[in-house]
């Protein structure tokens, strides 16, 4: 399988003016299409920083990052926004849906930024909501949905532009056990249908479902192994 993500010797230094904090101290990571990767590690290990870099929300201080064969270094903010739009689907711990627009409009948002025509946008968003089991909730505002439902809307939104990777940051962190299990099943289904997923998590139950587990500690990868138990 081809590599979707190629990171070599990635460093990230936060310069607050007085102190320089090195959050990532040289990360080499290669993710192939169709993998379900779990990134685990204690707080302050550099997980979030890695997620920001993987999701093109931030750029590395040093090293080379290629996403889908495209070098992400040295591009403008607008170009980076375009890369995010096309190649990355985000799922956040706190859902991050826009509260004043409907579930359907939330799913449409990446399509709007991607320049998809209104009719097609609507149809595609409706279809995605159907797929995550929320076809009947399309016109509801996020505040009228449960946590699990909100996260499903977020997953539909992440898939809207058919991205190279789906990047999930503690997707079950704000959910009760049963909703969490639902979400995990959706991720597993996505993986089985060939999607590339990267999940950052504390949750051992979620990590266990991944095909590969990467552990970070203190800005370095300390372990990287296949998970034979993957469902």
């Amino acid at each position: 399988m081809e590599s979707i993500i190629k990171m070599s010797n990635i460093r990230k230094v936060y310069d607050t003016g007085k102190v320089k904090v090195e959050a990532l101290k040289g990360i080499d990571l290669d993710v192939r299409a169709g993998e379900m990767l779990a990134i685990v590690g204690p707080s302050g290990s550099g997980k979030s920083t890695l997620m920001n870099l993987l999701g093109c929300l931030d750029t590395p201080s040093d090293g080379i990052y290629e996403l889908g064969g495209e070098n992400v270094g040295g591009v403008t903010r607008d170009q980076l926004a375009e890369i995010r739009n096309r190649r990355v689907g985000f799922v956040f711990q706190n859902f991050n849906l826009l509260p004043h627009i409907s579930a359907l409009e939330n799913v449409e948002l990446p399509l709007l930024f991607g320049g998809v025509a209104p009719k097609e946008r609507r149809a595609r968003a409706a279809e995605l909501l159907e797929r995550v089991g929320l076809g009947d909730r399309a016109e509801h505002k996020p505040t009228e949905l449960s946590g699990g439902q909100m996260q499903r809307v977020a997953i539909a939104r992440a898939l809207a532009m058919d991205p190279d990777i789906v990047l999930a940051d503690e997707p079950t962190g704000n959910l009760d056990t049963s909703s969490g299990t639902d979400i995990m099943s959706i991720f597993t289904d996505l993986w089985k249908s060939g999607r590339t997923l990267i999940i950052i998590t504390h949750d051992p139950a979620l990590a266990k479902r991944a095909s590969r587990i990467v552990e970070i500690r203190d800005g370095r990868i300390t372990s990287d192994h296949r998970n034979e138990e993957a469902a």
């Binding site: 920001n52 509260p99 409009e105 709007l112 939104r157 532009m161």
Partner: protein
Amino acid sequence: MRKDIHIITSLFASSGQLQKKRALLTIASIAWGTVAILLLLAFGEGLKRQLDKNRRAMGENIAVLWPGETSKAWKGMPPGRRIRPRVEDVDFVRDRMPELRSVIGEVVSWRTAITYERKTINGRVNGVSYEYGEARKHYPERGGRWLSPEDDKQRRRVAFLGDEMKTDLFGKDVNPVGKTILINNAPYVVIGVMQHKTQMGAYQGPDAQHACIPISTFKAQFGRDRLQNMLLETKRPEDMEGALKKFNGIMGPKFGYDPEDDRAFGTWNTVKTSKVTMMIAIGIEMFLGIVGALTLLIGGVGVANIMFAVIKERTREIGVKMALGAKARWIIWPFVLEALLYTFIGGALGIMIATLIAAAATFLPVESNEVMSFLGRPTLSPQIGMATSMILGLIGLLAGYFPARRAARVDPAATLRYE
């Protein structure tokens, strides 16, 4: 570009609007500023128009020339000689300057006894040519008339009274037309009373306080034909400069003075002075406009302030949109549109209120009130509306753009990381 516009309008349409109270206050501050600038400008415009009207009350495109003494030696004659034109010199000038609208002679008798029945006042009597009435805006009140060429030809004993002199002599309620008064004990029939006017410029005294009689009658009764003044009236204001030059070119040789000598005839060129008046009026209007614009600017600062607060509240939302692939301009312009919307609503409201107030001002009694007759009526003109709209648009744009630019600098990673 079209894609950008589609995205921006879609985002604007789907973005959350302000809370009602906040929106109301923002709109009110803009409306207030708009009312302020409009009323100040309307006031300035009214003042300008009134000044213009008042200055024209003396006459338009006229120059007043009064004979003086020469200040330059000329053809062997020393300076300091008096120039003494006579009534017949009016015809002399008129024949040689046919391009003028009129040439007018004026002879004055100061502190003349004027009597009606048992009341006698000391007033000014002017012997004037027929054209004086039109040139110096001596319009008769209803029921009366101005002097006619016939009056002059036949040396009729007729008098046209200034409105204040009429009141002094007859009181308020008497119609004097047809009544006989005595001027230095000679009987005159009153033929008309001047319509009241607010007069800004005057020489010898206000027109309201004198009586006018035909210049031929004056010469016959007072035995004087030395001109006090000559008036030149041109057809267009720009002709005045040349006309005055030509006048001295004609009179110089006749009276033996250097045509370059500007002391032989003292000159009041009203075209020149009215230009100054208009400059002052425009200056006042600009000043009022600036004061109004500053008031409106405060409203704009209010909008900008609200937009900053809104952007701070919506930081997470902005971060989410950026994570999903929104470019900076797609973040900026919906906010600018929002600020423009508030400015537009407030501006429209302000224009409505100011128009109502200006409409109410048309009921103000301008003519009968002494202060108002100088200040004039606040007047809204299309130019004022245009200028205000442009200032409003600019303020809305700035009040939206600067806060929104800050929104576009939001770091999505930082926004999304924290609860």
